[in-house]
């Protein structure tokens, strides 16, 4: 029985799909192709990985308009103490008009921008930074 089952199988694999259909009626042969299917699925998973790969090319496309990745000054220099008294440092994040520069322009991360904006507002209150216009 074992020899018979093994012998036709390579033939079925090597030949066109027609012999497979011929073997299909027997349940054992029906199981084997199904056993192959998971193997068939694996390439698909690999294809999925390849699908992530194509996620890369758009980035490469983005490199055409090369822009340096903005980093949070406070994270990089490990400045945790954002204080209203340090008006020179705060001045870097205030536009000429006196406005707080948005973080999409400066690259400051969200928690630091929060502290930064609070500090700038406190500094404005005590006349270290202007509300509007350049510091006179």
């Amino acid at each position: 029985m074992a020899d018979e089952t093994k012998a036709p199988a390579p033939v079925a694999a090597g030949d066109a799909p027609a012999p497979r259909e011929a073997h299909a009626p027997s349940p054992r042969f029906g199981d084997r192709p199904s056993g192959d299917r998971p193997g068939g699925d694996r390439p698909r998973f690999g294809g999925g990985g390849g699908g992530r790969g194509p996620g890369g090319p758009p980035r490469e496309g983005g490199r055409k308009f090369f822009r340096r990745k903005k980093v949070c000054k406070f994270c990089v220099e490990k400045i945790e103490n954002i204080n209203y008294k340090d008006y020179r440092m705060l001045g870097q994040f205030v536009a000429e008009s006196g406005k707080i520069v948005p973080r999409r322009l400066t690259g400051v991360c969200s928690p630091h921008q929060h502290r930064l904006s609070n500090a700038i507002k406190q500094a404005r209150n005590i006349a270290l930074l202007p509300f509007a216009g350049r510091a006179s």
Partner: protein
Amino acid sequence: MNRTYELMFIVRPDMTDEDLDKLISTLQSAVTSAGGSIKTVEKMGKRRLAYTVRKFHEGVYILLTVEGGGAVMHELERRLRVTEPVIKFLTVRIDEEQKRLDKIKSLRDARKKVSAQPAAAAPEEAAAAAPAETPATA
């Protein structure tokens, strides 16, 4: 209820140093009578204001660190408001922020120690491996 506050205020630039010292000492006595204490007094000197305050273009900045409850600060602020030479003031509570900074600092220090130990161990291993290799090549 012991909190730490930072009180920055600006006095008019034409105030003399003696008057300023007198003002600070009166504030100090007011704080102590209210049950708080002034930790530090820092005269930051004369500075040009970012905008005109009460028709003044510059002012003398003074920074106090006060310890005490909210009632102390309330009294202190009331006094500053009625004190004529004081043109502007700002109170900021700093103890919570200080606590946060200390926590971050201790975390960083702990991490530094951990990273320093393997770095110190690695050169020793390299030194031990080097003599073992040299006889083999010779």
